[in-house]
Symmetry: C2
Subunit: 120 residues, 2 copies
Amino acid sequence: MNSDCTIYNTVDLISKRWTLLILLELHRGGGGRKRYTELKSGLFDISPKMLSERLRELEKAGMIAKTVDASRVPIRTDYELTEMGKDFMPVIRSLKGWALKWKGDNRVCSKVECAECNLK
Amino acid sequence: MNSDCTIYNTVDLISKRWTLLILLELHRGGGGRKRYTELKSGLFDISPKMLSERLRELEKAGMIAKTVDASRVPIRTDYELTEMGKDFMPVIRSLKGWALKWKGDNRVCSKVECAECNLK
DNA sequence: CAGGATCCAAAAGGATACTG
DNA sequence: CAGTATCCTTTTGGATCCTG
């Protein structure tokens, strides 16, 4: 369509399955670094293929940063939100506000561990 | 995943291809009613199947309203944003703000008629 | 542990023709 | 005009096994 349109490309990135959930997962509990396996169990149904694919996309987009510590065995990898990624949270918050206002009768799910709802 | 989670369901709705573009198209030029064909030519690459499918979804979600005037031939149909739909614009605006801040070097495409960028 | 490689099923989307 | 119906291609994603 308009592959040189920033808005369109942004929508294209964030509208992919799991993407928002991964960002929320990285934001959970005050942010900070999270391991691949940690993310994987937080998003408990995701396949390794999907997770690494999305992580690659998000890293390329500049929303997350990857740190590898190869000095130890096994290799340790961490992911965290960049400033750009953190700054995206208000967008999600805005979406949540809208949903709470207009879809309130469906109510936000009550599970404490629901990554989708876990945005303050 | 969590089909009873409002946030998740919202993301699921709006992240579908064309959905945001249709909303923007309905918002264009001060809002107001738009005909099916009008929308179709505004989103010039969309297939009739996609357009009617998305319109149905959005209507069901309560974001747009459909008006049919069968008293005349040919039948005239109009679509417009509901209050819920209009109230969604700040969410898109928030997304655009983020994109302009962080993806500014890619710049928003300059075409005046670009529906994606046409949000004030 | 942190993925990559493969294979396969399902869903999404496009093109086109048709209709009340 | 405002779609529906059909067919077919492409994409997406899940399951699983493998490896440095």
